[in-house]
């Protein structure tokens, strides 16, 4: 690999532009592929196959060739409602996984950069905050405040936008009440049952890092199931 190719890869990574590295295994030549841009020179004839790899987010060797393709796709966006203690551990766990975390909390004392260095925190009510965030079916929501004023609007937004994972912290009783409120707000049983509540897999732990671990384990598992 040429150093200029490596520099372009680093640039694409930092600007979060999705791309693929295309390498000729025979001579070590490589080029960076970006959607909409055509590969040139010796890779010219492989545009179609590289695009297929890119679209299916796969790595591998193109059949009957010596061309290796490695795709770089954006991490999954995880929106956390509540800049609480558990969220601090979730951020730590997510660092080594393929998740990009955003936190929404309208409460100024919680949403401080001192508590969450290097992280995007939106210090607004969910309805306002979601106007600033691009979301789709591959977005996840973790509601941690167990305060209906803050959690409910976010849960409603996530259900309407069909997030692939929606989880809410709280006891069974808290969750029953939450389901009742969502029902009254017009959500179907199917939508309500899709919420993971109480959130997380059963680990038995009660401390903040243990709960965070049980949540992140469920999130990873559901990410592979989707």
């Amino acid at each position: 690999m040429k150093i200029t190719t490596l520099e372009q890869i680093i640039k694409n990574k930092s600007s979060k532009t999705e791309f693929a590295i295309v390498t000729n295994l025979q001579n070590g030549e490589s080029q960076v592929f970006e959607p909409g841009k055509k590969l040139t020179g010796e890779f010219e004839n492989f545009n179609k196959q590289v695009e297929n790899f890119f679209n299916s987010k796969k790595n591998g060797i193109i059949e009957n060739s010596e061309i290796f393709v490695e795709t770089y796709v954006r991490p999954i966006k995880v929106i956390i409602i509540g800049a609480v203690h558990i969220a601090q551990y979730l951020v730590d766990f997510a660092k080594s996984l393929n998740f990009e975390i955003l936190i929404i909390d309208p409460r100024g004392y919680f949403a401080t950069s001192q508590r969450f260095p290097d992280l995007k925190i939106i210090n607004k009510w969910p309805d306002e905050a979601f106007k600033e965030i691009e979301t789709n079916k591959t977005t996840a929501l973790i509601a941690l405040t167990h305060d209906p004023k803050i959690d409910d609007p976010a849960l409603q937004y996530a259900l309407n936008k069909k997030f692939y994972y929606v989880g809410a912290l709280g006891s069974k009783k808290t969750h029953e009440n939450r389901c009742q409120r969502l029902k009254e707000a017009g959500f179907t049983d199917e939508q309500i049952n899709s919420i993971y509540g109480p959130i997380g897999i059963k680990l038995g732990g009660k401390s903040a890092p243990e709960i965070a671990l049980s949540i992140i384990a469920q999130l990873v598992s559901e990410t592979y199931n989707k």
Binding site: L25, F68, T71, N98
Partner: protein, 109 residues
Amino acid sequence: MRNSFDEKILDEAYDWIKTNQKVVLATVIQTWGSSPRQVGSRMIVNEKGDFSGSVSGGCVETAVVRESIDLIKENKLCKKIEFKVSNESAWEVGLACGGEIAVYLEQVN
């Protein structure tokens, strides 16, 4: 999980190069059977044999380091190596898991 913008290994490679180290990228390009790391997994090696990242569960990294140092010494651009099942009774390099992997070595130049 899949390669992502969070994967830091290439950034690390670039940092090494900026401090005048010679760097070989070693990438898993093919796997057969049960292999510990998926296609696209990567480690980097410098001329002294320092390495970061992984291409297996620790089974073949030593051999990859040795081959990478040779690549730098011989000033070759690239090389493909295949690793197969190891014989459990011998201290040889191979994959105890019964899988096979192909690793591609390339110098950054």
